[in-house]
């Protein structure tokens, strides 16, 4: 309980710290608006151009970017700082964290308040609202619960991937580079029905880089395309659970890597 109280206190302080830099804070809000417009345009533009993408109609496809964006927004808000581990290692901050009586992972997360997450989440909620209003599906409690589970699972899966990169950074600081690529890949390929891609490429995005489990598989299950995703139905349906498992695994990896952390520059 004490941990929660400290976390809450630090978060409040961090939020205040964001207010300290006036220009920066106002800029973030202004820029949030640009971000919002561009993402929605980007998500809808391809759908209107390529109707019937992969056998999905456009209202169904919209569910993919909406799920991904919402999961991503929550990730940025709750666990997004894991992204900056590479830089924190290079600046020697991890060494300071190791001296304090609080888990390093939590200190990383409490490093600052992600003002930009507010923008991300606003966009995502808007997009999700749009997707749901255009959807012809019957939104039963079961479907809604599955969607929520999928969003949380997607968030955890994304967190797991970045925690994996962060763990690698602890041992090889240069791995930071892969984090940026990962982000780009998630952003570029996370929003399509992956069955438009050749089998090998789709397979890579399923088993190599498990991008498909973030939004594509859950959306396929919800819209009744679950049987033609290229993976067994049960596997696609278990996406949210896989997110949880992946995150737990990543945290174990993190703990193991932290024990083997050697620091930079001696």
């Amino acid at each position: 309980m004490n941990a929660v109280r400290i976390a809450w206190r630090v978060t409040r302080l961090n939020f205040r710290a964001q207010l300290e830099y006036r220009t920066e804070f106002l800029l973030m809000i202004a820029i949030g608006a640009i971000w919002q417009v561009s993402v929605i345009v980007f998500a809808t533009v391809l759908l209107t151009r390529f109707t019937g993408m992969g056998g999905w109609d456009s209202s169904e496809v919209l569910l993919i970017p909406a799920t991904r964006m919402l999961a991503h927004g929550l990730f940025v808000l709750v666990l997004g700082r894991v992204h900056l581990v590479g830089r924190q290692i290079q600046e020697g901050k991890i060494d300071t964290y190791l001296l304090r009586p609080m888990p390093v992972h939590r200190q990383v997360q409490l490093a600052f308040f992600p003002t930009n997450a507010i923008g991300d989440l606003t966009v995502a909620v808007g997009l999700m609202a749009g997707a749901l209003s255009r959807s012809n599906l019957d939104w039963t409690p079961g479907r809604i619960s599955y969607l929520i589970a999928a969003i949380l699972g997607g968030m955890l899966l994304e967190a797991a991937l970045f925690t994996g990169v962060a763990s690698a950074c602890l041992r090889f600081p240069a791995a930071d580079y892969w984090g940026r690529w990962l982000e780009e890949l998630l952003g570029t390929f996370g929003s399509y029905p992956l069955n438009v891609l050749p089998k090998a490429v789709g397979g890579f995005l399923t088993y190599g880089l498990p991008l498909a489990f973030v939004a594509y598989f859950p959306a396929a299950i919800l819209t009744g395309h679950g049987h033609d995703t290229g993976v067994p139905y049960w596997l696609a349906a278990l996406s949210p659970l896989l997110g949880v498992l992946a995150y737990l695994g990543a945290r174990l990896l993190w703990r193991w890597s932290l024990r083997h952390y050697t620091g930079v520059n001696g």
Binding site: E24, W35, V41, F42, N116, T188, F189, Y192
Partner: protein
Amino acid sequence: MAVLHAWRTARVTPLGELHTPPRMTAVLLRLTVQVILVASLWHGLYSHTGTTAGLDVDQAVTYAVLAVLASRLRELDQFSGRDTVIQHMHFGTIVYWYLRPLPPQRYHALRALGEQLYGFAWALGGYVVCLAAGVVEPPKSAAVAGVFALSLVLGQLVLYFVMLVLDQLCFWTVRNNAAMLILIFAQNLLSGVYAPLWFFPDWFVTMSQFLPFQATLSVPLSLYIGRIPLSDAAGQLAIQAVWVVLLFLFTRFLWRRAARRVMSQGG
């Protein structure tokens, strides 16, 4: 002597990369995977569509792959070299830029030039491989190739100035990391890296015509694939040139303000 310091400064980035072979391997791998993914994505998207937004599948794939290659031109890991304005502001080492007889603006431009030339070597290598593998189409004519080359140079100049404005912002807000990411995203979106601007709604295309971003990539690539016909090329090149001049004046103004700010705050 001026040539010498230009050469030394310009080669900082390539040299840094050569001293870190794993980074080069990473670039190669990333570029390969990205080209394959992008090419297959656009083939996939077009599988039920003939021509949309005035682009057929070959044009779209060529555009997308060239966009991936071109974004290599200035996408290096500058952070690892600790020579970005934001890092110099953070570590307080920006003072050294103002302690040397080389003006900071020239140093910055030379560093970027070296970086862009190094990136160009990568892009050119990738282009030759893609052309040989039939992933991209060759330009329709020698005239198209020439206009494209000219437009690409102008586009790179515009890109340099846009990135420079982002760097210069750091003189005023040290903590604009997230803002930078978002602006870079805007640059990628509005320059047509993620998807050709031709796919976007009319209002979006109109809006981006008033912004410098499309001049960086969308214009040269559209000239290459023939989406902008040669007859319209002169006008487009002129617009690019106007952006170069405007941004040059604007960034020069910002450099002066930045110097004044450093001189009044002490870096």
